[in-house]
Amino acid sequence: MTTGTPTSSTPGSGTRETTVGIGAGAATELGTSDMVLNIGPQHPSTHGVLRIKLRLDGELITAAEPVVGYMHRGAEKLFEARDYRQIVMLANRHDWLSAFANELGVVLGVERMLGMEVPVRATWTRTLLAELNRVLNHLMFLGSYPLELGGITPVFHAFHEREQLQAVMEEASGGRMHYMFNRVGGLKEDLPAGWYGRVRAAVASVRSRMDVFDDLVLGNDIFRARTRDVGVLAAALVHAYGVSGPIARASGVDFDLRRDEPYLAYPELADVLKVVTRQEGDCLARFECLLEQAHNSLDLADACLDRLAGLEPGPINTRLPKVLKAPEGHTYTWTENPLGVNGYYLVSRGDKTPWRMKLRSASYNNIQVLGELLPGTLVADMVAILGSLFFVVGDIDK
């Protein structure tokens, strides 16, 4: 037993506020009393340890307050004690479903500060891996969201497809989830012989079974009934809370960094890249955005493969000095992660570690809007709304 260990069984889900009305109309004119209901921190619908305090009037949610911090691992402070090689390893873990995209922001920032030129093959391979990672991320939510709404089958299909993509990702990087394949100046090492062909086969195989989600899930009447017109998020709220990613685009906010501030090889993929938007802003629109984006990412991956096949052989990384120091200064790198805008504000004082590295993660902003979105809905719709916000708890709590 050391410090920080609770000595007694202190209740984890702490506060228990119950306002009890006595007699009809004691609390409200309708005779119902407010109840504060804790969802989480350990609850299947919260994908981990998000806690939400709901104030209920009967079944109607009158107030919702997300309580974050149960997964706070202090990554930003740890960045200050790691050098630029080690940061990659920590930075890919906050959003564990989009590890490659998280790494990308760090290395792009350091490369920009160093003024480093990245080999062409590395840039295209990075784009390819980032899109495969986006498909992996989206497949997870395409499977888990129907699961939360009561449909068990799609998640098995989703994981079957995920395993195929994970196999090629693992072959390249050695990791199934946390690739740690980015290096400042390129990628860790060259790709195995014949890898691009296997990626093409995996992409084709995943695409051939995406109709499971197009038809089985999206065409399901129960699924549509539970998501249509539920949890409508207005575009004004998207702007007010800094919501980004597929959730924002489902509310008609046409913003995608891959098109609006292109990085990697996206400028040359403009004809393939499709920014998927919807106008409805409900749960169904969010799911449709995610699904169509996954389709588009598979197309982008194919486009990257086509381009890579035509490239001259060349290096995939840059030789680095033994001690890598970013010059004094600061820079802000943002990338379009699968779940939204992921930004790193990097301040360097010329040391081998950053002086400060602020992390702007997508889910943190995205779930703040729950406080506006949930009031006025029923408890039964809460799971549908929560799941449609596509968040990762580590991305919220960092």
Partner: protein, 230 residues
């Protein structure tokens, strides 16, 4: 933790047994002249009964581990992957459908335990009925992992609850979880409840009931009435 079976654990492992240890079958023991020639499990009834029952109980217990997934972070995704069609730990008898900790035998802590989350983990562990087992899945819940120097991360879930099997990796592959489950099942197969939960010595006085004082003469009718009313 090494749960490889040892020769000792194959024989009798009753805590109270004074002759615990490997017993040569059908051979007189020179260290105990006049002692049992037969194997110990053929001894008096008290020794005969627990062993087969123990085997049956352990057999049943190891292959119906209702599992409560304490999914915290990245490792939870690999836990889900292990429960899906490709790896499918249900074939090992791990059933991930426990409605809650009160119905679970096994808790798999997968992910980073933070100081803020730790009380909830301890509380849910305490809600599980005995006998209960814990698998710590992943570097973070083993020791803090990559967050070993973080100000907010608990350095291993074993600081708050006892852990039976540690699965290393960041995150471990689903195959590693399968291996961890097999190790736990080996451990369960060789466990003995008397060793695990040694009975407190019962004083002889506990078996005796003190004499009750005679009821007061005037209170007797009231008692009788109550007795009839019931």
């Amino acid at each position: 933790m090494d749960v490889t079976p040892t020769p000792h654990s194959h024989g009798h492992s009753h805590g109270q047994d004074p002759f615990a240890g490997p017993v040569p079958l059908g051979m007189p023991d020179p260290a105990a002249p006049g002692g049992a020639v037969e194997p110990r499990r053929l001894g008096p009834l008290a020794r005969l009964a627990p062993d087969p029952v123990k085997v049956v109980l352990n057999w049943g217990r190891r292959y119906s581990l209702w599992c409560f997934n304490f999914g915290l972070a990245c490792c939870a995704i690999e836990f889900i992957a292990a429960s899906m069609a490709k790896h499918d730990f249900i074939r090992l008898g791990v059933i991930p459908f426990a409605p809650g900790p009160r119905q679970a035998d096994l808790m798999i802590v997968s992910g980073t335990v933070t100081d803020k989350m730790a009380p909830a983990i301890k509380r849910l562990y305490e809600q599980m009925p005995e006998p209960k087992y814990v698998i710590s899945f992943g570097a973070c819940s083993n020791s803090g992992g990559p967050y070993w120097d973080s100000y907010s991360v608990t350095k291993g879930v074993d600081q708050i609850i006892p852990v039976d099997v540690y699965v290393p990796g960041c995150p471990p592959r689903p195959e590693a979880l399968l291996q961890g489950i097999l190790k736990l099942q080996e451990k369960i197969a060789h466990e003995s409840l008397p060793d695990q939960y040694p009975a407190a010595p019962v004083p002889a006085a506990a078996l005796k009931r003190p004499l009750l004082p005679a009821p007061a003469p005037d209170a007797a009718p009231a008692d009788a009435e109550e007795g009839t009313a019931q």
